[in-house]
Point group: C2
Chain length 150, copies 2
DNA sequence: CCGTAACGGTTGCAACATGCTACCAAGAGG
DNA sequence: CCTCTTGGTAGCATGTTGCAACCGTTACGG
């Protein structure tokens, strides 16, 4: 199992997130889930991942509450894997990764898949990190407070 | 090496991003870099990672253009690892992971480190995925277009 | 019904990545 | 000089991944 969560890192939300989804396949499985994949075979064909690896990943994602195994929606006796609310909450993470990839790994004009607004068909607005009062923040405008409660 | 980028996945920006930073340590190294770590020893102590692993990760992050190795700022002959512009552009990714972790892996009132606005000391606003014209989008409001150019 | 193919896995093994410990060379610092 | 710190490398044990073969169950056509 990948599961770590090291010592003093355990209080860091980033570490817990990475612990849950921070390997190559898990993130791509979640991406495919957002993209509509539900069945074992869909994930397997789409990702080209070995079946035993997929089995293990799906299990940990289900165990971690990111995916849920439900009866198939087409009436067959098989099961499907769908995002839980916790899994759906990963949407900004996937979008952030996608935008970073688009902006840094493709030559101008190089084709790539694109996430668009279903209603208008336009590209999404680039994610912005905002302060509580709406100012746009850069990394140096922020700082980490250790061990505060919410 | 972790590097894959599988077949038809290569056109997906998410896959390229995950290929560059999608392992346990890389994301935490980047998080620490945002948090001010610069020196080999700082990362090593902060993460508790084995030195040979850290060496390898720093090398791939530098090779991937996320970090840059520069002469130490304190005048010593040692070197430091700092985020490139491409690395700084990961800010929304880290923030998204942090917020997801905060909201899904901590009991109410459980203490955790917190990213705050340096000017006001307040928590950041939760990231929102917006359409080009500013509407707030949920996963089901979006769809993927394959192989479009920008 | 029956045969066959697709689905959704499991198992075993080889290859590779990770982690630990020991070691080491080149600065820093006195 | 002498010693401590920094920033690694080397070797080995262990864990994880990937591949291919196999298998029970379910759908599906006739």
């Amino acid at each position: 199992m990948v599961s770590r969560t090291r010592f003093d890192d355990s209080e860091c939300p980033v570490a817990r997130s990475v612990d849950a989804i921070g390997d190559w396949w898990s993130l791509l499985i979640v991406r495919d889930a957002f993209d509509g994949s539900r069945r074992f075979g869909e994930f397997q064909r789409s990702l080209g991942v070995a079946k035993n690896i997929l089995t293990a990943r799906l299990r940990t994602l289900v165990a971690g509450g990111v995916l849920e195994s439900v009866p198939a929606s087409d009436g067959s006796a098989y099961r499907e894997y769908v995002l839980t609310p916790k899994g759906e909450a990963l949407f900004p993470v996937i979008v952030a990764l996608r935008q970073w990839g688009e902006q840094n790994f493709f030559a101008p004009g190089e084709p790539h898949s694109q996430l668009v607004d279903r209603e208008q068909g336009h590209r999404l607005r680039t994610l912005e990190v905002l302060s509580a009062d709406g100012r746009r923040l850069n990394p140096e405008d922020t700082t980490v407070h250790k061990l505060s409660t919410r």
